[in-house]
């Protein structure tokens, strides 16, 4: 008998709203004649979908708060509503809204303006919700695929651009390959437990004892899939090409929503499902984290394309977040949450400056394109400086708080070696971020006129800028938000 | 051991009857089309050309089996075998009659009685396209390739409405087992047979199924893969002798299969439309006696001298069969149940086969784009709607 209780409905509703609004956008686009100019109102509908979903998420928060943050399990344990899911849903919703605001003009300029774009953004966000709240491996897998397939299409959205096609193709092939590994690992977990639920996994591990080869195999293959999704070494090769070829708005969305949701999944699998097998996965993750930091930061040095540079730096950031998970204490988990939050705003901001600077038909891509920006457009240059400082982790910006908590947790848990490695790579990262800054303020170049940015771009620039500063100066409310993710 | 012997006997019987029917279906088709077009059709070999199929078989077997140089040998040879094999395979799950007990042996009339019978038929029929597509590709000929491509697109497209049309009776019967589906259609409702097409309200679904069946079997008006005035002969241009005959057999076997499936799903299988208290047992006997009477009548007014001998001979044989039905109705009920079931099953299937031939004689061929548009813009939504409405009513009743 099919059952759909009010709890199921309450837990599902934000994701459901996103999917329904996505379908509505597609349908309305289909119902009204194509040649009508100005389909901006459809963007409005898509945005209102995010708005309704946010409102429902807020209701969920109020409910949880009234019930002392007790997790709410729905659909026979397939989906859970807890502070953790809420926090990451929030990041996904915010990034979806910001990306939609900046996409309109960008797509018009690229002559690839289709309303499917907004529907796909909504569907991707919907898929991300099931990564954040999924407790059942089948649900997680389908949610992951929903998000990934939406992104495959979004990355290849510039159909006449060869680089966009190539990026989509690479992302699709490698993504499919890594998902194969993930599902292989999940299938072994199912074999071990006889259940697809992550919670059931936790009860089986102690009975099988440490260093069970089969469990080890399952962990390794699952990690291959998950590390791919978060863009960590040694499964990072897709990231630079995909980030570079994708439409810049999509790059921002990919770097934020996909990465945070995948991190949420990684945390959920490692802490809920495999929490009792920590000694098995911790060395693996440590190796991956150090490798990620090394590859991300060293490869970024030699990049001349800004999007590629930011791609490598985002690989490096994945390494820092992994360090927070490895530290494993409460500080570390708060660090992961706050790091991803600050990273979201700074990354969208940095990509947005690139979007704002694009001239008609020519994208700003190489470091030379940024030359003498400080003279020509001091506001953009200052904002870029702010975002880069935040990405590098300098006070008084948001990034500092994230890095501070990560390092604090490493020191607290006595992992001094990792803390030193991390700090070393912060120094390295300063070098390549400074290359951008030097280009902006210390070099001369020809004059080039940029288009006046749209109001959406202005608004999002202001929002991300303010958020980046505010988190750096007044971290207290944001830390409290991060604490929600731990169920406090 | 007993199971194996019974199964072997049944398989042998079914194979014999099926292959004979295949050969004679060709004769029936030529005769029917000839009469539609005011001709006489095959006439020379045997009385009324009755031995024509035999002559055709001998001709096809003794012809030179030509394999052109430019073909892809392996798949060229494989394709007709694949086509025949798959076409004959699906008949194995069709139930021809009720469970009977003869000479103390209890058995179902039908080869295999499996839980997912209808799914197996769908699966095998969806594989059928490989025979044609591979033949078209392996022949290395542009006409063949076009035919193969057309058949691939056409059969994949029409499989969807077909599966959806099948889904509606499945919902009504709540089973995937063909025997159970027939069992749920037993009895009648105020004199109307309790078949899915009548009391199940599947008249629309039945027509959707039959249209899709025409496309799945590549019959006119959907015979685009072999459209002779565009593609010479389509996918089998390069085939000769028994390989050519293989495709021919496959087409007719597929026709028999889809007609059987339509009978089972929509027309109540082996159940008689006449309630047993109204004398359904005698009906088959009466039909045979009437046929025999007609033969005797024509023998008296024979147009040719030969008919004076052959007509009475056939009349005697057919009245003999009628006598067996009478015996079944009054003397030996166990036999009666079996042969009556077979009679009704055969009659329904034959009528549907006749419709296939009739339409071939009547309708022209579709254009290719019309064919595809019809599949996706009419058949698919209509079949979906039919299924949803059926599901809705079933939910409302239960």
């Amino acid at each position: 008998m099919i059952t759909y209780t009010s709890t199921d409905h309450f837990v599902l509703l934000p994701g459901l709203l996103l999917a329904l609004f996505g379908c509505a956008v597609l349908l309305l686009d289909f119902l009204f004649p194509k040649d009508v100019k100005g389909r901006g109102w459809l963007v409005g509908i898509a945005l209102s979908g995010v708005g309704f979903a946010s409102w429902q998420s807020w209701q969920q928060y109020l409910y949880l708060k009234a019930h002392s943050m007790t997790p709410l399990v729905a659909f026979n344990g397939a989906l859970v509503l807890d502070g953790f899911a809420l926090f990451f849903n929030g990041i996904v919703l915010a990034s979806a809204a910001l990306v939609m605001l900046i996409s309109y003009r960008y797509l018009e300029d690229e002559k690839e303006h289709h309303t499917e774009y907004y529907a796909l953004v909504l569907f991707a966000a919907c898929g991300a919700f099931f990564l954040n709240g999924g407790l059942d491996m089948v649900t997680i897998f389908v949610g992951l695929e929903l998000m990934a397939v939406s992104f495959y299409i979004l990355v290849g959205f510039l159909r006449t651009d060869k680089r966009s096609n190539e990026a989509a193709m690479k992302y699709l092939l490698l993504g499919g390959f890594s998902t194969g590994f993930l599902i292989y690992g999940f299938s072994i977990f199912y074999g071990l437990t006889g259940s697809t639920n992550l919670a059931a996994l936790a009860t089986v591990i102690p009975a099988r004892g440490a260093n069970d080869p089969l469990l080890y195999l399952a962990i390794v293959t699952t990690l291959v899939g998950l590390l791919f999704k978060i863009g960590a070494a040694p499964f990072h090769m897709w990231a630079p090409d995909t980030y570079e070829g994708a439409p810049t708005t999509v790059t921002a969305f990919l770097a934020v929503a996909s990465k945070t949701a995948s991190f949420a999944l990684l945390l959920r699998v490692m802490l809920v499902g495999l929490g009792t097998a920590r000694e098995m996965w911790e060395p693996l993750l440590t190796g991956a984290a150090v490798l990620t930091l090394t590859i991300g930061n060293l490869a970024a040095i030699s990049q001349s394309n800004v999007k590629r540079l930011l791609a490598y730096s985002s690989i490096g950031h994945a390494g820092y977040v992994l360090l927070g998970l490895i530290a494993g204490n409460q500080t570390g988990l708060i660090g992961v949450s706050i790091y991803l939050l600050t990273y979201a705003f700074s990354t969208i901001g940095a990509f947005l400056v690139l979007i704002a600077l694009r001239r008609r038909g020519v994208a700003v891509e190489t470091i030379e394109d940024l030359a003498s920006l400080g003279k020509r457009y001091p506001y953009y240059a200052l904002l870029m400086l702010l975002f880069l400082m935040s990405l590098a982790g300098l006070p008084p910006t948001a990034g500092f708080i994230g890095k501070y908590y990560i390092f604090l947790s490493l020191v607290e848990s006595g992992k001094y070696g990792l803390a030193i490695v991390g700090a070393l790579y912060v120094a390295v990262s300063l070098y390549y971020y400074f290359r951008l800054v030097r280009s902006m303020f210390l070099t001369e170049s020809i004059e080039a006129q940029v288009l006046a940015p749209s109001n959406g771009v202005r608004l999002v620039l202001a929002l991300t800028g303010i958020a980046t500063i505010a988190m750096g100066i007044l971290p207290e409310p944001f830390l409290r938000m991060a604490a929600i993710s731990l169920g406090r | 051991m007993e199971f194996i012997i019974i199964t072997l006997v049944k398989t042998g019987l079914v194979a014999f009857i099926l292959l004979t029917t295949l050969a004679y279906l060709q004769w029936v088709e030529r005769k029917v089309i000839a009469h539609v077009q005011a001709r006489v059709g095959p006439y020379r070999v045997g009385p009324h050309g009755l031995l024509q199929p035999l002559a055709d078989v001998v001709k096809l077997m003794t012809k030179e089996d030509l394999i052109p140089d430019h073909v892809n040998k392996v798949f060229y040879v494989l394709a007709p075998f694949l086509a025949v094999f798959l076409a004959l395979l699906s008949i194995s799950v069709i139930p021809f009659g009720p469970a009977v007990e003869i000479f103390g042996i209890k058995t179902n009339l039908g080869l295999a009685d499996i839980n997912i019978g209808i799914l197996l038929i769908l699966a095998v029929s969806s594989l059928g396209v490989y025979g044609i597509a591979l033949a078209g590709w392996a022949s290395n000929n542009k006409y063949s390739l076009m035919g193969g491509l057309r058949s691939a697109a056409q059969m994949v497209s029409y499989e969807l409405p077909m599966a959806l049309a099948i889904a509606a009776p499945l919902i009504l019967s709540n089973s995937l087992n063909l025997r159970e589906i027939v069992d749920t259609q037993a009895g009648n409702w105020y004199g109307i047979p309790n078949w899915n097409i009548f009391t199940g309200g599947q008249i629309f679904g039945f027509f959707l199924f039959m249209i899709a069946a025409f496309a799945e079997t590549n019959r006119i008006p959907f015979d685009l893969p072999e459209a002779e005035n565009e593609l010479v002969a389509g996918f089998h241009v390069e085939y000769s002798s028994m390989k050519f005959a293989g495709f021919f057999m496959a087409e007719y076997a597929n026709m028999i299969t889809v007609c059987s499936v339509a009978t089972v799903l929509f027309l109540g299988g082996w159940h008689s439309p006449i309630p047993s208290q109204a004398g359904s047992g005698v009906f088959a006997a009466l039909v045979h006696f009437a046929a025999a009477g007609m033969l005797f009548f024509h023998a008296m007014h024979a147009a040719r001298p030969f008919d004076k001998i052959t007509f009475p001979v056939f009349g005697v044989v057919i009245s003999g069969i009628g006598a067996i039905f009478l015996a079944g109705a009054f003397v030996w009920p166990a036999l009666g149940a079996a042969i009556n079931g077979l009679f009704w099953y055969g009659a329904k299937t034959f009528i549907l086969l006749f419709v296939f031939i009739w339409i071939r004689a009547t309708l022209p061929r579709f254009r290719y784009d019309q064919l595809m548009r019809f599949a996706w813009l009419f058949m698919f939504p209509a079949a979906l709607l039919n299924m949803l409405i059926t599901a809705f009513f079933v939910a409302l009743k239960g």
């Binding site: 099919i2 499917e116 437990t193 | 594989l127 597509a133 697109a153 995937l176």
Partner: protein, 169 residues
Amino acid sequence: MSGDTFFFYAFSALALLGGLGTVLLRNAVHCALALMTSLLGVAGLYLLQGAEFLFAVQIVLYIGGIMVLFLFVIMLVNLDQASKLQQFGRQTPIALVVALAAVAAIFSMLSKSAVLLPASVSLTPLTGGNTETVANVLFTDYLLPFELVSILLLVAVVGSVMMAGKRTE
């Protein structure tokens, strides 16, 4: 060797050889047919497990639907040039070594480990028909992913229509 064991190895071999053929054969039509063989082997394995519904669906959807479309596309494009191209890069020997090492590692892990399923899980097929069981599980325990798949498929359709659609300027 009992019948079941024999068929298990036969179907597994079919699946594996088909997979190898898909990767190694030169002619794209042969590759597609090898993939079909592989899927057929998997379908056979389903049947051995008593999952007759999955068996039928595997054949109807994968072999009868998707692979036919593959074949359709392959037949339409000209493959003469593609079959003459170098099929693998120069890293083939390294990749081969890595792949074989991975296979060996997985094999040793599987063989060293204790029995796979926990004792609480029954190994015999469920009674009452596989189709009914699948339907029940799908609409109770896995209702959410089942419905979610519909959105996933919608996205896939929208994406393919988008990518294949006419380029309007």
